[in-house]
């Protein structure tokens, strides 16, 4: 699919409607007319930061927490979850109703729902869980059974635990320090769920290391694994080429692929996880056009 065939993107200076503290995070509600028609779980929004005279030029991208359709499209609302992680996101966490923020949404490819109802596990690390309650609602609406695993280093870094009980058939909370739920990692309850149930699909959002292990466990158990990656993006719309990951295509070839256009959701088995370490991603030697590839143009 070429970018031109995609659903329209709403580009708007959005009114901030609400900004609510949730644990270590802020949940921002924005007026984004028309967004509800096309936004799906796994899509993201790209926001400007710092106001009109800001020296911070690059957009910050956030997984959409949920959208709420208004009585007409003008009343559509979009919610995101922001962690204060630097000057740009700090500015966002300080917005109050009446402020305006530039929003592009919905962007990217969201989660694919299974063809038939089944049993699913949804896994969120930290505020990576932001889109999961909304995804759970979609899955349950089609008759799927939903298990949700929420994990974080400590309880303040959990997101969605309060909402989870209402949208999931079972909820498993884990923290590394044991301040909420069981002591451990998200992979502990995942192993058990995969062993004791007939899990058809696993959906996960969070850090790369977690996604890799979740993907491996799911695939081993014969489940489909869809993971939403978090690569740094400058534009969110496919023009800056900074958010790439090595992804194996249908033809078996690996390409440095824009996660903003072809992701952020990928089938876990297509991601070349071994290329990523320590927040950096190398180009696999066998990737199309890798500098190590022995194809000189003049040798053709």
């Amino acid at each position: 699919m070429s970018a031109g065939d995609r659903d329209p993107v709403v580009a708007v200076e959005a009114d901030v409607l609400d900004n609510e503290r949730v644990g270590a995070y802020q949940r921002l509600t924005l007026a984004v007319p028309g967004v509800a028609a096309t936004a799906r779980p796994g899509h993201f929004a790209a926001l400007t930061v710092g106001g009109e005279t800001s020296g911070l030029l690059l957009r910050r991208s956030f997984s959409i927490h949920r959208v709420a359709a208004g009585s007409d499209p003008a009343g559509d609302r979009l919610e995101i979850v922001v962690a204060d992680a630097g000057p740009g996101t700090h500015w966002l966490t300080q917005r109050t109703p009446g402020d305006r923020v530039g929003v592009l949404a919905p962007l990217g490819n969201g989660f694919s729902l299974p063809a038939a109802p089944g049993e699913c596990v949804l896994i969120g690390g930290g505020y990576g869980s932001a889109p999961l309650p909304w995804l759970a609602e979609h899955l349950r609406a089609m008759g799927s059974r939903v298990h949700m695993i929420l994990g974080a280093a400590t309880r303040y870094r959990l997101f969605g635990a309060a909402e989870a009980a209402a949208v999931a058939d079972s909820v498993h909370v884990v923290t590394v320090d044991g301040s909420a739920g069981a002591v451990g990692l998200v992979t502990d309850p995942l192993r058990q769920l995969l062993r004791d149930n007939n899990i058809g699909a696993v959906y996960a959002c969070g850090p790369m290391g977690m996604l890799r292990v979740v993907g491996e466990l799911a695939i081993e158990a014969g489940a489909v694994a869809q993971v939403a990656v978090e690569e740094a993006m400058a534009c969110g719309v496919g023009v800056c080429m900074t958010c790439v990951l090595p992804i194996r295509g249908h033809d078996g070839d690996t390409r440095m692929t824009r996660t903003c256009l072809d992701g952020p959701v990928f089938d876990a088995h297509t991601v070349r996880w071994e290329a990523a370490a320590d927040g950096r991603v190398a180009v696999p030697a066998d990737a199309v056009g890798a500098s190590s590839a022995p194809v000189g143009w003049s040798a053709r």
Partner: protein, 323 residues
Amino acid sequence: MSGAAYEMDVVDLSVDLAGMSLPNPIMTASGCAANGPELHRFFDVAEIGAFVTKSVKATPQSGRGTPRMAETPSGMLNSIGLQGPGIDAFVAHDLPWLASAGARVLVSIAGVEAAEFAHVAQVLATCPDRSAIVGLEVNISCPNVANRGLVFACDPASSAEVLSGVRAVVPADLPLFAKLSPDVTDLVPIARAALDAGADGLTMINTILGMAIDLDRMRPHLFGVTGGLSGPAIRPVAVRAIWQVTAAMRAGTIPTAPIIGVGGVRCGADALELIAAGASGVQVGTATFHDPRAPRTVLTELAALLAERGISRLGDLVGAAHG
């Protein structure tokens, strides 16, 4: 009729850049707009003067690992590594799309040796969608493998070698623009070398080489170590470069040729500043990352600015600051 459309009608924004006839001076900047469909979701790519594509090389390029960018005050560093499909896929897929959208395409070409630039140019000059191509922008800010990796644009002889090689394989009616790097002691001799070797015009400036260090890792932030600095932070450097080369043209030191200005343009007033320094065309680059509508918005704002000042022809303001 909207105010903006009205202003575009009362102000003659058309430009002729060495035979490259455009309805207005605003363009995308190479590497800041991908190859068309991505931005077409936000504005009609046929409405701006020209669409400048990502630099294309002879073969597919994976580009570098990540991180590929770092945000800096009023700008950013990037180190993409010219990721792209290669010239054969470009003429098979990218160019036909741009042609079907009605875009006037200024194709940016790159290479690691003069012969690669010439090969890419030759494929373009003979491809089925040749009529959509209004010119070639020769990105000589690439390392020259035959000269210890020194960037072509930092050496007059290397710059001339690339331009004369490309000139030799494309018809005389296909305008060539040499894209110059500001990372040189004196731009004028490089501009002269490019023009003498067959460039019809100049695009300036490319990014400025920069670097950022990740203090947690105590290592370079970018996977590629160094990167190109772009954005409003470098606009004064672009204004200076355009001014100096225009002054040399006016003094008769180098041949007179059109200049396409690029560097940190975010609004209509920024575009007008580059025009006043001597540019007849203006590219909008990094601002597109902030807002994908930026090239179209700059066009509307520029038209409004000229109308406000009672200027009926954009050409009257090119180089106006030189008096």
